[in-house]
């Protein structure tokens, strides 16, 4: 009886503890104050896929996924790059029109929620939004295949507000090699170099997440503006091609760029990665189940993939990855590249989130952890968003300079 009682009490207490653990009380007052007065920028959110479903209301709190306005508010997320993404295998004009549909969907959300959201295309506009208490909505195109090898399309993206473009997604495009495909262009083709130069001129940040190491170096050489990795982590901590080596981070930093740490468990944890590799049937099973449940619906694929991965973790078939691994990657990148060259690129709604970082409402924990590690408030602010804003401002400056062409 006693034993039962004790167990029950323990059980209850454990519940209490768990509940408390995610409550703001767990976060120091100093961290809260700092977090909610800083501009918190996330450079990669796949929420856009969900926006294509007209029934999805970004203004309502959801029990699935990681992003909506209430949870952004709760987590103090002030600026979000909505990722424009379609799979690499979709190419040509279909890729262009589907990308345009996603751009339109983001713009419609801004329209539908004028009190909470405002479209921002410059660092200054992000700051104004923050002052007004509105969330800055920005756009990044995740994969150069969406321009259909046409600079006119790239320029249209820029006019419509796109402010970064990832040169590839998981597959090579016609002019750049991906880190997860067989090299075909020795990095960037001549046209690929032209794309990078045009991005500089238009003020679109060159994003080297997803690209091969060679593409990264060629882009670094060609680009006149600093680059970002919008959602990549550290390869030395988790050896996957999607992450950056220490040398790459140093070289990125030397040219003023920023690595935005990705929270995907498979990019954070070597243990998780090893388990995935050792049990390829798990990923295969997840893939098949996702296909069965979702067909070609990308929003569904992303959410179900996350859900199914968690189920395997719960069953003990894959290791449990804690959110604190994010801090380890941030800290490593700071040690290697410097505190001016690290930021946040969650991959919310597009990846498998670690325990404790299920959604945007959990972001203050990062601020708290960094302060507890002894980071200065100024340095934390840089990581939360100031570094990204600095790159944006610099990219804008380069764009203005390149646009000043002498008139014939």
């Amino acid at each position: 009886m006693l034993r039962i009682f004790l167990t029950a009490a323990l059980g209850v207490c454990a519940c209490c503890f768990l509940a408390v653990a995610v409550r703001p009380r767990d976060i120091s007052a100093r961290a809260r104050k700092l977090h909610f007065s800083s501009i918190v920028v996330d450079t990669h959110d796949d929420t856009t896929q969900r926006l294509l479903d007209e029934k999805f209301d970004l203004g309502a709190r959801h029990t699935d996924g990681s992003i909506d306005i209430p949870r952004m508010r709760e987590g103090g997320l002030d600026a979000i790059f909505f990722s424009i993404w379609i799979p690499s295998k979709i190419t040509g004009r279909e890729a262009v029109s589907r990308a345009l549909a996603q751009i339109a969907a983001v713009r419609e959300q801004v329209r539908a929620h004028p009190k909470d959201l405002v479209l921002a295309t410059t660092a200054a506009e992000v700051r104004v939004a923050h002052k007004q208490g509105r969330i800055a909505a920005l756009m990044g195109v995740e994969g150069g295949h969406m321009i259909n090898s046409d600079l006119d399309v790239l320029r249209n993206f820029a006019s419509l507000g796109v402010r970064y473009m990832t040169l590839t997604h998981s597959g090579n495009d016609e002019w750049a090699d991906s880190s997860t495909d067989t090299a075909a262009h020795n990095g960037l083709s001549d046209f690929g170099k032209e794309v990078v130069r045009e991005m500089n001129r238009l003020g679109i940040i060159v994003d080297i997440s997803h690209v091969s190491d060679k593409t990264f170096y060629v882009a670094l050489e060609v680009s006149k503006a600093p680059m970002i990795a919008s959602h990549s982590s550290c390869r030395v901590l988790c050896d996957v091609p999607r992450n950056m080596t220490d040398q790459m981070m140093k070289d990125l930093a030397a040219k003023g760029g920023v690595i935005q740490i990705n929270y995907h468990v498979g990019f954070l944890s070597q243990e998780f990665r090893n388990a995935e590799k050792a049990n390829p049937e798990i990923n295969k099973a997840i893939g098949e189940e996702v296909q069965k449940r979702c067909g070609g619906d990308e929003a569904c694929q992303l959410l179900e993939g996350d859900r199914l991965t968690r189920e395997h973790v719960e069953r003990g078939e894959l290791p449990r990855v804690d959110w604190k691994q994010i801090i380890e990657h941030v800290d490593h990148a700071v040690k290697v590249a410097g505190v001016d060259h690290v930021g946040l690129g969650s991959d919310f709604d597009g990846a498998n989130m670690p325990y404790g970082m299920e959604d945007a409402s959990k972001l203050p924990k990062i601020t708290d952890a960094l302060l507890k590690k002894g980071y200065s408030e100024d340095d934390v602010k840089k990581i939360l968003g100031e570094n990204t804003l600095r790159v944006m401002a610099e990219v804008e400056r380069v764009s203005r300079e390149l646009s000043k062409q002498p008139q014939k």
């Binding site: 339109a104 969907a105 006019s159």
Partner: protein, 407 residues
């Protein structure tokens, strides 16, 4: 001898006197016209120059031997505000239409950037006035044909965000929500979605352009729109009975709601004899265009150019009569007589139509000002026709837009 002398003297005296008084008066008007023209905002609401921006042989910043518009000739003609027309064939629909339209919008923005010393992109009447004060040419954008929104109101909004300031509801063919004046009626004017498009244009501050639409579409749009409408490039049906032109009743109804008809200089829209002859030889402009479009396999610049070439050839061979630029003034005058000087302006259709003799390109525009003054028009009325009326509609459209957005 004496007699001869006397006659000579008299004739010299008379002719000198007559000559002098005539020249003085003519010079005076010419000088006043020149002064008035070059101090006014001269706004043209329809120029198909956009399609030429894609041609490697064309440079907007240089004086070109062909075509009607480039910066040097705009400067020479005192044309300081231009609506670049975004146009693709009305049979291209859906996403490809949207993309091609976006490409053209981009080309306008790129050229404004390239020639930023001469051009400045404008979205409001106030910006046009500021451009004029700075000695720059105001570049604006109009979309010629509702088919380019791909039946998607969100695309219309994107166009608005990208600076589009009018949209012609159709081109030569019906789109899926509005009937064209040169196609078989399919929607009895505007469909429900078509009405929604008009309301959204009001909200976005995009002027509703009823050039090209059927008479029923015009009256539907007039009923739905909360802002005045424009006909960006149409002339008077009473002078030339073409479905692309407006009847007197339509002009009156347009004016009653504060709108403006911007006179088109196309020969077959301003001259009845020309139109009749043209219809006879080619089966009408649409049939001619269909044939040429096929030959040009979708290249819009080629289509416009070939259409003009065809007409030029037919004129040279005498198949088509010649048309004088003075017809343009007759059309303006007709509207003024009908509804007063507040409801008419200029919508040349340069680079998209065949120009009458004497109006070969935009450098010839001062002739219109002079002709109106010779007709006894007051300076302020001439200024209205040259651009003031259209700016008034723009302002009104902006006002309606901010009211609707505030709701």
């Amino acid at each position: 001898m004496r007699r001869i002398l006397v006659i000579l003297c008299v004739s010299v005296c008379i002719s000198r006197g007559f000559f002098l008084s005539r020249t003085v008066s003519a010079d005076e008007i010419a000088a006043r016209a020149k002064k008035l023209h070059f101090s006014s905002i001269v706004l043209d609401t329809h120029d198909d120059t956009t399609q030429r921006l894609f041609s490697k042989d064309f440079d907007l910043g240089k004086r070109n031997l062909d075509g009607h518009v480039d910066i040097p000739r705009m400067r020479e003609g005192g044309m300081n505000a231009i609506f670049f027309s975004i146009w693709i064939d009305g049979r291209i629909m859906g996403p490809p239409a949207v993309e091609k339209a976006l490409d053209q919008i981009d080309a306008v923005h790129e050229n404004v950037l390239k020639y930023s010393k001469d051009l400045v992109f404008c979205r409001t009447a106030e910006e046009v006035r500021r451009a004029h004060a700075q000695g720059k040419i105001a570049a604006l954008i109009g979309v010629e044909g509702g088919h380019m929104i791909g039946n998607d109101i969100r695309v219309l909004r994107m166009f608005g965000d990208l600076g589009v300031r009018y949209m012609t509801l159709t081109h030569f063919y019906n789109d899926e929500w509005a009937d064209s004046s040169t196609d078989k009626p399919a929607h009895n004017g505007l469909t429900d979605f078509g009405r929604e498009v008009v309301r959204e244009m009001n909200r976005e501050g995009i002027m509703v352009d009823i050039s090209h639409v059927s008479d029923k579409t015009f009256s539907d749009a007039l009923e739905v729109s909360k802002a005045p409408l424009i006909a960006s490039h149409s002339s008077c049906r009473a002078l030339c009975n073409h479905p692309r032109d407006m009847s007197d009743d339509m002009i009156k109804a347009l004016a009653a709601k504060g709108g403006v008809i911007q006179i088109n200089y196309e020969r077959s829209f301003i001259d009845q004899a020309y139109k009749d002859a043209y219809d006879k030889v080619s089966g009408g402009v649409v049939a001619a265009m269909e044939k040429i479009t096929k030959e040009c396999s979708g290249d819009e610049d080629c289509t416009s150019r070939k259409l003009r070439e065809l007409q030029t050839q037919m004129e040279a061979s005498g198949t088509l009569p010649r048309v004088s630029w003075e017809r343009i003034v007759e059309h303006i005058d007709h509207v003024v007589k009908l509804v007063g000087p507040d409801y008419v302006g200029l919508g040349s259709d340069f680079d998209g139509a065949t120009m009458p003799d004497g109006m070969e390109d935009c450098s010839k525009l001062p002739k219109i000002t002079e002709a109106l003054m010779r007709k006894g028009y007051k300076d302020e009325d001439v200024r209205k026709i040259l651009g003031g009326n259209l700016l008034r509609v723009m302002e009104q459209t902006e006002k309606v837009s901010s009211e609707l957005r505030a709701q």
